[in-house]
């Protein structure tokens, strides 16, 4: 019998594998010309979104950046709607009007991926403001990259969230690179969670190696938000294996660096823990087969879905 712990870890591991295989399929489709524009993959960072969102209730909100596939899938969006959006199809979550950077799902309370760096953080503060205004007990989690820590909106949002004691958990996913520029060349301190100090805000900082630890640590901030209506700034240290986007030649870092980081891979780590608890090869083979089928189905669905019609160009400009 699998323990309760490994059941939970098994579920989170499954989500991480789903995200990784989804992203690999997206990269393949991009190379085949089926996806246009920008494509920012989440591969390597899976434990961050999966662990963080596992600490939430379904009624809690999440707001993300343009690197939003992992966040959307972890919040419960369907692989079909997500893949179809990348393909620009009318069956996509945003009817093909949004694209890779703009995943939205009102039912799942996924309030979007946003393409202007840092511009979404005040929005997240506003969602948290609503929860406080209506006294709903809902928590809002906002993801951003380390590159967003230097822009004004991040600071204005933190300043307001601390001033008004909003139930907001702001997570800086520090993947060490702001596009192609390392953190050491974009920030005067190595720890972005220090930015919380000036706002009198609680903070935390940890690696995303262990998805259960991510859940537990984010869970503390979620508890602080839900029970005390207080915001937290968290830096989750992570790493992306692929380029900033698909057009990134990756000349700013070495292959050795990437290989070294893969030794700490969050998916492999979860797998090792599950094996230690008794999961065997057959379990992982079955899981891979199941995920492969889901992703293949999503790609087929996206491929076969219809393009949005011309009538949609202006249809959603005004309510």
């Amino acid at each position: 019998m699998a323990s309760e712990v490994s059941d939970e870890l098994g579920a989170l591991h499954r989500q991480m594998v789903l995200i990784r295989r989804f992203e690999e399929a997206a990269a393949k489709a991009y190379s085949q010309g089926k996806i246009g524009g920008f494509l920012h993959l989440y591969i390597g960072q899976e434990a961050s979104a999966v662990g963080a969102l596992a600490a939430l209730r379904e009624t809690d909100y999440v707001v993300g950046t343009y690197r939003d596939h992992g966040i959307g899938l972890a919040k419960g969006m369907t692989p079909r709607a997500c893949m179809a959006e990348l393909f620009g199809k009318v069956t996509g979550c945003s009817k093909g009007l949004g694209g890779s950077m703009h995943y939205f799902d009102a039912d799942k309370r996924m309030l979007g991926g946003y393409g202007i760096v840092g511009g979404h953080v005040p929005l997240a503060a506003g969602v948290a403001f609503k929860a406080k205004y209506k006294n709903t007990g809902e928590v809002t989690v906002c993801f951003l990259g380390d590159g967003a820590v230097s822009i004004g909106d991040f600071h204005e949002a933190l300043s307001l969230a601390a001033l008004w004691k909003l139930p907001l958990v702001t997570i800086v996913e520090n993947n060490e690179y702001s596009m192609g520029t390392p953190l050491s060349r974009t920030m005067s301190v190595p720890d972005s969670s220090q930015k919380a100090l000036a706002y009198g805000m609680a903070r935390d900082r940890f690696h995303a190696h262990d998805v259960l630890e991510v859940k537990a640590r984010v869970g503390e901030a979620v508890k602080r938000a839900r029970e005390s209506s207080l915001p937290t700034l968290i830096e989750i240290q992570t790493y992306r294996y692929r380029g900033h986007s698909m057009s990134d030649p990756g000349k700013y870092r070495s292959a050795e660096e990437i290989e070294a980081r893969k030794k700490d891979d969050c998916v492999l780590r979860a797998e090792a823990a599950l094996r230690a608890q008794g999961r065997d090869d057959a379990y992982f083979a079955a899981l891979e087969a199941e995920i492969e089928a889901i992703v293949e189905d999503a790609v087929r669905f996206a491929d076969e879905s219809a393009e949005p019609g011309e009538e949609l160009i202006e249809a959603y400009t005004y309510a």
Partner: protein, 325 residues
């Protein structure tokens, strides 16, 4: 009918809508304890409390964005900019989030929010505090833009804006805040996107909005004494634009002038001229001319400031130029 000042009419609109809908809240710099930089929000803190009349720090992008997020999940924020000049630092929030979230989400999210405050030249406040944002915001699909010229329209349009499901750019005017006018008793709503023929006339058609309306009406009085009768149309809404009464008037006059406070390059006036030449080409007996603000940053000097925006005198000259063709 009662007479109210423009600022009182705005205040009444806010108070009535806050009374009607608990999801409506007001946020901005000095809106509460200070009682409003221009006293529009006087007394609202005492009436509705600090949860709903929220004094914000000087962080326009932050609180504009916060309002947008709150609007996406069911609240109906009224965000006050102390002046529209300060909206420039929140422009990204309005352009990239408020205006686009409905499109980007495939219609899943709407953004029912009002951004309001005084627009355009005040009195000798210099280059950075004297700008007209009409054209900049009217350019953006996804927002509505209104610019009331009278207390009655200020009240009726603000109530409609608060109830609208879309982001509304609400352009008030410091020079109009003290102007009095009749405001209907009881529930008074003015629909967004409906212009108003405020003066009949068969000689020429003058199109304007906002604080230029008094100057245009003064010019029309002057010309009327010479037997030149101008129809005057107050657009009230700049997006969507209702030019049906303009077309009807031009069918009669064959001559039109557009008067705007803002800079001449592009702009709402240019949009009106473009539509007129397409819709009324056969009826026009002269080119459509514009009287606009000067193509320069606003000087501080009072005399130069007066010369930098249209006046009754320059409007009279503009009408004469249209008639001279």
């Amino acid at each position: 009918m009662r007479k109210l000042r423009y600022r009182e009419a705005l205040r009444e609109a806010i108070a009535e809508e806050m009374e009607r809908d608990p999801n409506v809240f007001l946020m901005g710099e000095e809106v509460g304890y200070y009682q409003g930089a221009y006293k529009v929000t006087e007394g609202l803190l005492e009436r509705f409390g600090a949860e709903r009349v929220v004094d914000a720090p000087i962080a326009e992008s932050g609180f504009a964005g916060l309002g947008i997020g709150a609007a996406m999940v069911g609240l109906r924020p009224i965000i006050e900019f102390m002046t529209w000049n300060f909206s420039a630092v929140a422009f990204d929030q309005i352009l990239n989030n408020a205006a686009k979230v409905r499109q980007m989400s495939g219609g899943q999210f709407t953004c029912p929010i009002v951004f309001r405050g005084p627009n355009g030249v005040a009195r000798q406040t210099g280059a950075q505090h004297s700008q007209s944002f009409d054209a900049i915001y009217a350019y953006i699909p996804g927002v509505k833009v209104v610019a009331p010229a009278t207390p009655a329209d200020a009240k009726g349009l603000l109530k409609s804006a608060i109830r609208d499901e879309n982001p509304v750019i609400f352009l008030e005017d410091e020079r109009l805040y003290g102007v009095t006018g009749e405001v209907p008793d009881g529930e008074h709503l003015v629909p967004i996107g409906v212009s108003n023929l405020v003066r009949q006339g068969a000689t020429a058609t003058v199109v304007t909005w906002g604080k230029m309306l008094p100057a245009v009406l003064a010019a029309a009085e002057t010309l009327g004494r010479e037997g030149v009768e101008c129809a005057v149309i107050d657009l009230r809404s700049l997006r969507p634009l209702d030019l049906a009464p303009v077309y009807a008037s031009v069918a009669e006059t064959g001559r039109a002038l557009v008067v705007q406070e803002g800079w001449p390059y592009g702009g709402v006036g240019a949009e009106v001229v473009d539509r007129l030449q397409r819709e009324c080409f056969a009826q026009l007996r002269a080119p459509v001319l514009r009287v606009t603000g000067r193509d320069a940053s606003m000087p501080y000097n009072k005399h130069l400031e007066d010369l930098s925006i249209p006046s009754a005198e320059t409007v009279v000259r503009g009408v004469r130029a249209v008639l001279a063709y």
